[in-house]
């Protein structure tokens, strides 16, 4: 098997999901300069709601094709997440619109905890397995395999990214969003009601998050009330990597982060296998002869890569790959 190609495929899959979640962070940041740390948990709510609906439909035993069942889950998750996103903005962030920036930021962390705890009350503490309602055939390409679910996730993500780009650049509401992002006061003078634009931005971000939640849950076959935390942090890292506030940056950052993580996880075992390195393997000759490998770090260290990337970006290019210099925004 071609590990490199396989990890590229896996990385593109998770990277697509990161990109969709990162768009949610970056859109909200673009409009009100808030890191909505609860966004990852909105994604979790999407996965949980979809899971519940899918289980319900499966339980009814209707002769529906699996695709329709998943679609029912997605269609339930989207409005649920939109409602959560709307409520977050209306109840938690809007009253703090003119407060010092630290206040809404800490509120966002609080909202994240609240969403997790509410999810814990509703869905319980145990991880929920996504029901295996369909086969997931794999296709061989060049020594690697790509599954139907992976293809679906990548295609759907590309469609969502294209759709959002079109929305932001070609529709009236999108133009209002960009105008508000550039200067909320001047946009107001043009008759743009900032409250509506900001609420709309949260709703769109949440809808994207809902789809991302279903994709993530389907891919890993599991949903859990804490899943939004790490996923959210990684997507946030992706948004920062691309340049927070920049839509193309979030897409690029998400894909890159997915690739870095997948390749890192694929190769870290090999690179930290002490028996590969002559100097060390001489010292460990006995064990190497016996086991063949003495691996320091396994693929369970994959989360490290996302955050290593975050740290490197913050140190060497805080504005991100595609980000503008901060001074231009002021």
């Amino acid at each position: 098997m071609d590990i490199f190609l396989q990890q590229i495929i896996n990385g593109l899959t998770t990277g697509s999901v990161y990109a969709i979640v990162a768009l949610g962070y970056t859109m909200v940041y673009g409009v009100i300069q808030l890191i909505n740390f609860a966004h990852g948990d909105v994604v979790m709510v999407g996965a949980m709601v979809a899971f519940t609906v899918i289980m319900g439909v499966v339980g009814m035993g209707l002769p529906l094709p699996p695709f329709m069942i998943v679609l029912a889950g997605v269609l339930a998750a989207i409005p649920a997440c939109m409602a959560v996103g709307f409520l977050l903005e209306r109840a938690a962030y809007r009253p703090l619109r003119h407060a010092p920036r630290l206040a809404p930021l800490i509120t966002a962390i609080g909202m994240s905890i609240i969403l997790q705890q509410v999810a814990l009350l509703i869905w319980g503490r145990d991880p929920r397995a996504f029901p295996q309602i369909m086969d997931n055939p794999s296709f061989a390409i060049g020594g690697a395999a790509i599954s139907a679910v992976q293809i679906a996730i990548i295609l759907l993500s590309v469609a969502l990214m294209a759709g959002l780009t079109w929305f932001v650049y070609r529709t009236k509401f999108g133009i209002a969003m960009r105008a508000t992002a550039e200067n909320v006061n001047i946009a107001g003078l043009m008759g743009i009601d900032a409250n509506r634009v900001i609420a709309g931005t949260f709703i769109i971000a949440a809808a994207l998050g809902a789809v991302a939640g279903v994709m993530y849950g389907t891919y890993y076959g599991i949903a859990h009330y804490t899943m939004g935390f790490i996923l959210g942090l990684k997507a946030f890292s992706a948004a920062v990597l691309g340049g927070i506030g920049n839509l193309a940056g979030a897409m690029l950052g998400g894909l890159l982060l997915g690739l870095v993580e997948a390749l890192g996880a694929g190769y870290i075992g090999e690179f930290t296998d002490l028996c590969r390195w002559p100097v060390v393997s001489a010292m460990l000759a006995e064990r190497c002869a016996a086991d063949g490998h003495v691996v320091l770090f396994g693929s369970n260290y994959q989360d490290v890569f996302a955050f290593a990337v975050l740290i490197l970006v913050l140190v060497f290019r805080p504005s991100g790959l595609l980000g503008e210099r901060v001074s231009e925004r002021a």
Binding site: I175, R178, A179, E182
Partner: protein, 260 residues
């Protein structure tokens, strides 16, 4: 003056202070429909502050503004735009990373509905509206004389074109009153002449214009009436010929005679 002339805007005792500095002291002025009204005064007299209060960018400390017979809601800039006041800025404030056309399209917002769901669902009404918005924006670019720059990013336009674009964007909101904050600043003589033509054309098309300007010649030649602010107080308000001879005004401008 005859009382039959319709009043468009009436500011009553508008006040604004920043910390201990009283930037506007009970400023009252009356702008009649379809006139070109000049607001002049030395630097720091409070002209731009008056604009900012009038358009809801600064919260006012006191006073009322009646516009078109109704009290103006100054708490929300978009309400001011809705009521029919549009403005430009002394230091140009365009949406720099958007195209010229898009900048003008933003200005159409106040006269159209902007629903996030309509935009997603692509209702026929929404599409027709967006097409109309684009068409109108193109017309306005034509009107101010920069149709060929429609697809250029606003920040890439020349200085004079940026000023024109700001006016087009303001016009897109279909204002009754257009407030121009030093539109001739930094313009050469040719550009100023073009600007003057543009303003006169706007008035001919039925608009009322409120003009802050340092170019005294332009103000005196163009305006029907002029108010003079000094240290946040209105010290004169009359036709240019009278204001020019007002001793208080001459003193405010450091003894120099104004007008040319």
């Amino acid at each position: 003056m005859s009382s039959s002339v319709a009043v468009l805007l009436e500011a009553c005792n508008v006040g604004k202070s920043f910390g201990g500095v009283q930037a506007l002291k009970d400023v009252s002025l009356t702008i009649r429909a379809n006139e070109i009204y000049g607001l002049i005064g030395p630097n720091g007299a409070g002209k731009t502050t008056f604009f900012n209060v009038l358009t809801g960018l600064y919260p006012r400390d006191g006073g009322e503004v009646l516009f078109d017979g109704r009290a103006l809601d100054l708490a929300n800039p978009y309400r001011v735009a809705e009521a029919g006041i549009a403005r430009t800025f002394q230091n140009i404030r365009l949406f720099g990373s958007m195209t010229a056309l898009e900048n003008v399209m933003v200005g159409r917002h106040v006269r159209t509905r902007a629903g996030v769901f309509g935009a997603i669902l692509r209702t026929p009404g929404q599409r027709a509206e967006e097409a109309a918005v684009k068409r109108r924006a193109q017309e306005l670019l034509h009107y101010v004389g920069i149709p060929h720059r429609a697809e250029a990013l606003a920040r890439h336009l020349s200085y004079g074109d940026q000023r024109r674009l700001e006016i087009a964007r303001a016009l897109a909101t279909e204002p009754k009153l257009l407030a121009l904050d030093e539109p001739a600043a930094g313009m050469n003589a040719t550009e100023t002449a073009g600007l003057r033509q543009l303003i006169e054309g706007l008035r001919a098309d039925g608009l009322t214009v409120l003009l802050i300007e340092h170019d005294v010649k332009l103000v005196m030649g163009l305006c029907d009436r002029v108010a003079v602010l000094d240290y946040g107080e209105k010290i004169a308000e009359d036709v240019p010929a009278v204001v020019q001879k007002d001793p208080k005004v001459i003193e405010a401008y450091l003894g120099g005679s104004i007008g040319g």
